[in-house]
Symmetry: C2
Subunit: 103 residues, 2 copies
């Protein structure tokens, strides 16, 4: 069925974005690069351990980049890649839908 040709990519995207916290982490980083502690502070109930895990997955998927600055003390920031920033429209549409429909 030609109309379902894109199924695997669509499904892969959903598996990536659908994990708990991932959407909120991406949305937080859409506001600009941030330190680990800033992201953790912005998302209530997200543990440091879980955030570490999610960052690793998002780095592996090429959505987030971890930047290490050789300063004293060393500064580490997390930033969306182009692939990550390109999710802004998806996030906007989900936000619009959620505001309308989630009670």
């Amino acid at each position: 069925m030609e109309e379902f040709q894109m199924c695997p990519k669509f499904e892969d995207a959903f598996e990536l974005l659908g994990k708990r916290w991932t959407g909120l982490i991406i949305r937080t980083l859409l506001g600009g690069k941030k330190r680990f502690s800033d992201v953790a502070a912005a998302i209530p109930h997200l543990s440091a351990r879980m955030l570490t895990e999610r960052f690793k997955e998002l780095e592996k998927q090429g959505v987030v980049e971890r930047k290490v600055y050789s300063e004293t003390p060393v500064r580490i920031e997390y930033e969306l890649t182009e692939k990550g920033r390109d999710l802004s429209k998806v996030m906007d549409e989900i936000q619009i839908w959620a505001e309308k429909w989630i009670k």
Copy 2:
């Protein structure tokens, strides 16, 4: 932080949409109401047991409506509600992103 006021709704939306197969099921039904077997046939590797489970969840969330027609034999169809149809833009944006970025 005012900018994160919508977090719970946004997160709830992600939890609903992020489950395996849910995106594909909604996308299939965006093409119009369908019988169980038609949805199953349209999504390779999705088992009947899993589809039953997902339909129940989506009904509970008010995204899908199960319609029973008193015919012989009885006809049962699954259709998106207004809440479900309203996801078309979300699905479109995810599709665009996936086609561009998922290898």
